[in-house]
C-alpha cells in the first residue's frame, strides 16, 4: 500500500492539495449561499487532510495522521455549530443567502 502511494512523487500531492484548497478559498469568496460556503470550507480542510496524510506517509511518521483525526473531529464540531447558526438565521429571514446580511452596517 505504502509503495503504491509513494509511486507518485510528493510534489504531486502538494499540487493536488493546493488546487483543492484554492477551489475552496475561491468558493468561500465567490458563492453567496451560506451552505455552499460551508461546503467550501470543508473542502479546504479536506485538502489539508490529504496533504497531511501524504506527508505522513512520505516521512514515515504517524503524527500527521493523528492530526488528520483531530482536524476531522474539530471540523465536525464546527459544522454542527455553523449549521445551528444557519438554522437560527433561516428561521428569522427564510433565506440562506449571505448577501442579505447587511443589517449591521446600515
Amino acid at each position: 500500500m505504502l509503495e503504491i502511494i509513494k509511486s507518485v512523487p510528493i510534489d504531486y500531492y502538494v499540487y493536488l492539495s493546493s488546487i483543492l484548497f484554492c477551489i475552496g478559498v475561491f468558493g468561500v469568496l465567490i458563492r453567496r449561499n451560506a451552505i455552499v460556503v460551508l461546503m467550501c470550507i470543508e473542502l479546504m480542510l479536506n485538502a489539508v487532510n490529504l496533504l497531511l496524510a501524504a506527508f505522513s506517509t512520505y516521512l514515515s511518521d504517524g503524527q500527521g495522521q493523528i492530526m488528520v483525526f483531530f482536524i476531522m473531529v474539530v471540523a465536525a464540531a464546527e459544522a454542527a455549530v455553523g449549521l445551528g447558526i444557519l438554522v437560527m438565521i433561516y428561521r428569522n429571514t427564510k433565506s440562506t443567502d449571505i448577501s442579505f446580511l447587511d443589517k449591521i452596517r446600515n
Partner: protein
C-alpha cells in the same frame, strides 16, 4: 494546568447548574471558579516553580512563566466580565447557564493557546476558544444583528482555520514535526525545504492575522463587534485578542525565530497597515461599539510590534503589560457603555452627552479608561506603549515613528467621548441606574489601573 482543570470542571458544573435557572447561583459558581483559577495561577506565578511540568503531557503543554502570566491576564479580564454579567446577561433566560459554560470553555482554549509546545495543541486551543465564541456572538437569537454577527464570525473564523491548518501542514512537511522545539532545530540547521517552510509560515501568519483582526484580514471585526451582545463584545475584544497575540508571539518566538529575516518584513507591513487604517477609520465612527472595534484593531497593530521585537529583551513583558492595561481599560469602558446605552436605547456617541452632570463617577471611569487606551501619561496604557515601542525601536525605527503618529491620531477619537460627557450640554442627559455589581467591577478595574500606573515594572518584569 491547575487553572485549566479548575475552569473545565467549573464549566461543567455551571452547565448542570443551568437547570436551576437561578441567576445568582450561576453567576456565583462561574465567578468562584474563575477566581479560584486566578488564585491558583497567581500562586504558581509567584512561586515561579514550573520545572518538570513538561514531561506529563507528551510535550504538548508547558505552563511556564509566560503561560501563567498571560493566563492571569485573561482570568482577570474574565472575572471583571463575569462581575458585570448579572445585569449584562439579563436578556437571556433559558440559555443563561449555557452562556456561562461557554465563557469558561472558551477560556480553557485560551489557556491552551498560552501554553502549547506543539502545533496540534495550538490548533485545538484556537478552536476551543473560537467555537464557543461563535455561539455566544449569536446568543440573542431573535435579534437579526446578533444572528448576522454569529454567521459572519463563524464563516470568517472557519475560513481562517483553513489557512492556519494548511500552514501547519506545510510546516510539518518541511520539518517533519509538529513539536515547536524540533521545528526550531530543523530551521536552525537548515534541514528543510525552504519554499514549503516559507509558504507554511506565511499561511499560518494569515490564519492568525484573521484571528487577531490585523489588516488586511480585519474586515469581519467591526460588524461582528457591533452586532454581538455588548458583554460578549467586551469579552471578544479583550480575552480573545490577548489569547490570539500570546499564541502568535509564542509560536513565532519559539518555532520560527530563526526565520525572522523572512517573516519580519511581512509582519512589519501588516503592523503599519493595521495601525494606520484602523486609526483613520475610527475617526469617522459615530457608533461607540464600532469605534471601539476599530480601536481594538489599531491596538492589534501596536501589539504586532511585540512580535517584531522577538529576541529583544523585554518584548514579552511589554506585551504582557500592554494586554493587561488594554483589557482592563476596555472592560471598564464597556461597563459604562453598557449602562448608558442599554438604558437609553442609544448606541451612538451622543448617548454620553452630559453624563458628567448626572453620573460623575461613571464619567470619571470613562475618562480614565479612554486616557489609558490613548496612552496618555501617566496612565497604565502609556507604560504599555512605552515599553512596547522601546522594545521594537532597535529593529524598526521607522515603524515606531508611524506608531507614535498613530497614537496621536487616536487621541482625537478617544477624546470625542470625553468631550461628549463633559462639554456637550444636553437637557435630556442620560438616565443611568447603576446596579451593585457594576460599581464593584468598575472600582476593581480602577484599582488595577492605579496599581499598574504606580508599579508597571512589577508586571513588565514578570516574564
Amino acid at each position: 494546568m491547575k487553572a485549566l482543570l479548575i475552569l473545565f470542571f467549573t464549566a461543567i458544573a455551571v452547565l448542570f447548574a443551568g437547570l436551576s435557572k437561578n441567576r445568582k447561583t450561576l453567576q456565583t459558581i462561574a465567578l468562584a471558579g474563575s477566581i479560584l483559577a486566578l488564585l491558583a495561577t497567581g500562586i504558581d506565578l509567584m512561586l515561579g516553580d514550573t520545572t518538570g511540568l513538561n514531561e506529563h503531557y507528551a510535550t504538548m503543554f508547558r505552563f511556564d512563566q509566560y503561560a501563567l502570566a498571560f493566563s492571569a491576564v485573561v482570568l482577570i479580564g474574565t472575572v471583571l466580565i463575569l462581575g458585570l454579567s448579572g445585569w449584562g446577561f439579563r436578556a437571556l433566560t433559558d440559555t443563561l447557564g449555557d452562556n456561562y459554560g461557554l465563557i469558561l470553555f472558551s477560556l480553557c482554549g485560551a489557556l491552551c493557546m498560552f501554553s502549547f509546545t506543539n502545533m496540534v495543541m495550538l490548533f485545538l486551543g484556537i478552536e476551543i476558544l473560537s467555537i464557543p465564541m461563535y455561539v455566544m456572538a449569536g446568543s440573542r437569537r431573535d435579534e437579526p444583528e446578533s444572528n448576522e454577527a454569529a454567521l459572519k464570525y463563524f464563516l470568517m473564523g472557519a475560513f481562517a482555520t483553513g489557512f492556519l491548518l494548511f500552514g501547519i501542514a506545510l510546516v510539518y512537511g518541511a520539518t517533519a514535526s509538529f513539536d515547536m522545539q524540533v521545528i526550531a532545530r530543523a530551521i536552525a540547521e537548515g534541514k528543510h525545504s525552504l519554499g514549503m517552510l516559507h509558504m507554511g509560515i506565511l499561511l499560518m501568519l494569515v490564519g492568525l492575522s484573521f484571528k487577531v483582526s490585523a489588516v488586511p484580514f480585519h474586515f469581519w471585526a467591526p460588524d461582528v463587534y457591533t452586532g454581538s451582545p455588548n458583554l460578549v463584545t467586551a469579552f471578544m475584544s479583550t480575552v480573545v485578542k490577548t489569547a490570539g497575540f500570546a499564541a502568535l508571539y509564542r509560536l513565532f518566538s519559539s518555532a520560527f525565530v530563526d526565520a525572522i529575516d523572512f517573516w519580519g518584513i511581512t509582519v512589519a507591513a501588516i503592523a503599519a497597515l493595521t495601525m494606520t487604517l484602523a486609526n483613520v477609520t475610527a475617526l469617522f465612527q459615530t457608533n461607540f461599539k464600532r469605534m471601539m472595534a476599530y480601536s481594538s484593531i489599531s491596538h492589534a497593530g501596536y501589539l504586532l510590534l511585540a512580535v517584531l521585537a522577538i529576541g529583544q529583551a523585554g518584548s514579552a513583558g511589554a506585551m504582557l503589560l500592554y494586554t493587561l492595561s488594554y483589557s482592563i481599560a476596555t472592560i471598564c469602558a464597556f461597563a459604562v457603555y453598557i449602562l448608558v446605552a442599554e438604558q437609553n436605547n442609544n448606541a451612538s456617541l451622543d448617548a454620553f452627552n452630559g453624563l458628567s452632570k448626572r453620573e460623575p463617577f461613571l464619567a470619571a471611569v470613562m475618562v480614565i479608561s479612554m486616557l489609558s487606551l490613548a496612552g496618555i501619561p501617566p496612565t497604565a496604557g502609556f507604560f504599555g506603549k512605552y515599553f512596547l515601542f522601546t522594545a521594537a525601536f532597535e529593529r524598526y525605527p521607522w515603524l515606531i515613528g508611524l506608531a507614535v503618529i498613530n497614537s496621536a491620531i487616536s487621541i482625537y477619537y478617544y477624546f470625542k467621548v470625553i468631550i461628549a460627557m463633559y462639554f456637550v450640554r444636553d437637557e435630556a442627559s442620560p438616565v443611568v441606574v447603576t446596579p451593585v455589581g457594576f460599581k464593584w467591577v468598575v472600582a476593581g478595574g480602577l484599582v488595577l489601573i492605579a496599581l499598574l500606573t504606580l508599579a508597571p515594572g512589577s508586571v513588565y518584569g514578570l516574564i
